[in-house]
């Protein structure tokens, strides 16, 4: 699920100017700006006051273990990708663009592209020659009926969910694998049944309702042993 890439912050803040330049990474100076908010929050949650040091210590710990910065050359590549991706608006200001094309390629893509092209050609040849020409199985991914054939909207996937516990009686509801049916299972439809007789031999009676579900056949199950319906 994609995040909104372009946030619209809701608070007012004075112009940052120089204060944002090359921040002093070792300190916790910015916490001073939070003093009032922090005091107000701790007023409501006094039980957390004793843990504030832990939080600040964790923050310091993170900063002590910060990753090494990439080289200037690497940053030049990244900046080149940004400028290339911006496209005409960047080109219009006369930048010598080191990356051709409007789409930037990631490290991951670039690293794989050259090696995969050769490997893919060889693999395609081997597959064409060696594998039997049978239609591969399809339909592994179930279609979600209520979303139609358009684009699905995944909210979470399997890796996002950890099943922590389940009551014993609920285990019968646990479906292992892909559910075969993802919609109500309709055994018969309206119009598939023709009522031939409504004899009251076994206590059967017919109810006629005004809705689309009429008629409804009601049969007591245990009145006639051996003849339950």
């Amino acid at each position: 699920m994609n995040q909104d890439p372009i946030p619209q912050p809701e608070f007012q803040k004075p112009e940052s100017g120089q204060e944002a330049q090359e921040p002093s990474h070792a300190g916790l100076d910015h916490l001073k700006n939070d003093r009032e908010e922090l005091a107000a929050w701790l007023n409501k949650h006094p039980e957390e006051a004793s843990h504030l040091e832990d939080l600040q210590a964790l923050v310091s710990l993170c900063r002590q273990s910060e990753p090494s910065q990439p080289s200037d050359e690497t940053w030049d590549h990244v900046l080149g990708g940004v400028i290339a991706g911006i496209g005409p608006s960047a080109a219009s200001v006369g930048h010598a663009n080191p990356v051709s094309g409007s789409r930037t390629l990631s490290y991951f893509e670039r690293g794989l592209r050259s090696s995969l092209m050769g490997a893919a050609a060889a693999a395609a040849f081997l597959l064409a020659v060696l594998l039997p020409h049978e239609k591969p199985p399809t339909g592994i991914e179930p279609e979600i009926p209520f979303l139609g054939r358009g684009e699905t909207l995944p909210i979470v996937d399997a890796s996002d969910v950890d099943l922590m516990s389940m009551e014993g009686d609920d285990t019968r509801l646990l479906v292992v694998g892909i559910p075969p049916v993802n919609a109500p299972l309709v055994l018969v439809g309206h119009g598939d049944i023709t009522l031939l007789s409504a004899a009251d031999e076994y206590g059967t009676r017919v109810q006629m309702s005004s809705g689309p579900d009429a008629p409804m056949i009601v049969a007591p199950l245990s009145k006639q042993p051996g003849r339950e319906r």
Partner: protein, 203 residues
């Protein structure tokens, strides 16, 4: 980014705007000044990288997220209305790019806490020198493992505060949430991190 193996034409690194404020640089960029973009990039690439790296755990992925974040920011500058600092806004964009990238590449390492819920009875975490005996890289890995146990919202909040060096208010601005929510997320994250790190360091 240019392909790793190719030698790109060296981009000029702007040093002509060291004293200019962000708003001035943004206005200059809007007027067609390429070097303003480069200066803003140079100014915030480091902090953006730290945030992306902490969310993704790999240099190449982090660089991709930084590139994608800057690209989105500069191609949607009209959405930035100056109600927060540019840095705050940019880090939100970069961190979201990193989270999206992490999902796409399936490299999230969610570790189950096996139903564990933090309590005050858990072993107290003494932070005087928690990293003693651990190399920097080991500590970085340990922190990454600890952060992976957090829900995404808590992780993003904590990283924006710790690595992005955003104040509580700035984190609230970046995520469009209240300061109280920021506090809650940070303190709950702290509880989990504290116990996780205590257990791992003891072992």
């Amino acid at each position: 980014m240019a392909p790793r193996g190719e030698a790109p034409e060296k981009l000029p690194t702007s040093r002509q705007h060291p004293a200019a404020g962000d708003d001035h640089l943004l206005a200059q960029y809007a007027a067609g000044d390429r070097e303003s973009l480069e200066e803003l990039f140079r100014r915030y690439r480091g902090v953006a990288y730290r945030v992306a790296y902490r969310l993704l755990g790999q240099e190449a992925d982090a660089l991709d997220a930084v590139q994608d974040g800057f690209l989105k920011a500069f191609t949607h500058l009209s959405a930035f209305q100056g109600r927060s600092s540019f840095k705050t806004w940019l880090l939100r964009v970069v961190s979201n790019s990193a989270l999206d990238l992490g999902r796409q590449r399936g490299r999230r390492e969610i570790r189950s806490l096996d139903g564990w819920t933090p309590t005050d009875q858990d072993t107290p975490f003494r932070m005087e020198d928690p990293g003693q005996g651990l190399e920097r890289a080991d500590m970085r890995l340990l922190i990454r493992e600890a952060l992976a146990t957090l829900p995404e919202a808590q992780r993003q909040t904590f990283i924006l505060h710790a690595d992005g060096e955003l104040s509580y208010r700035e984190v609230a601005e970046a995520l469009s949430i209240s300061i109280g929510t920021v506090m809650s997320r940070l303190f709950y994250a702290r509880q989990k991190l504290r116990v996780f790190l205590s257990r791992r360091i003891e072992t």
